[in-house]
Symmetry: C2
Amino acid sequence: MKYNEQGLIPAIAQDSVTGEVLMVAYMNQEALALTIESKHAWFYSRSRQELWHKGATSGNILVVERILTDCDADTILLLVRPKGPACHTGERSCFFQEVVEVESETRPRGVGYVGPGIA
Amino acid sequence: MKYNEQGLIPAIAQDSVTGEVLMVAYMNQEALALTIESKHAWFYSRSRQELWHKGATSGNILVVERILTDCDADTILLLVRPKGPACHTGERSCFFQEVVEVESETRPRGVGYVGPGIA
């Protein structure tokens, strides 16, 4: 894996059932190792400058089913089963804000990708 | 939007029909502006140090339907309709490599998320 100058790599957590992109955070080597070992998503919190077991306090852990990387190995994609909302705001996914309204003839109104499994 | 020290923000491109995460690249402010204006994904190529109209040469453009950001506005999520394989390797998605085999009782073998719309 290719880590950046801070020793970090971006990691996307995607719901393995619904396909929703839930959140993006960063991992260092240790966080990746802990993720592989525990099958829970661990990240490195840049703001707190420490390892972060996502959901350890809230119970909203991400159970990791598959760990993928891209063609140049500088991004991680986790396929996960979330045990609760992924966002600290209580939203299912952190991606609930539109940057700008893009007029789309093909895409119905809505936020993000909502696949099977969403009521 | 919160750009990093290099003036860049990571942008995830997700297929708006299938839910597959296709690729991750970086945008600067100009790339985001061009994306909004043209409804095609533009990025900033860190290796070539220049703006990059994804697919302009190959025809494998990403038509942008929706532009989302996360709770702390430091990541962009594009919902797109790809006009061809997103990866320069010819793969549909750049995320075709497993980092490590994670034994999963719930997830069938396969690479990434494959939602409706995939034959």
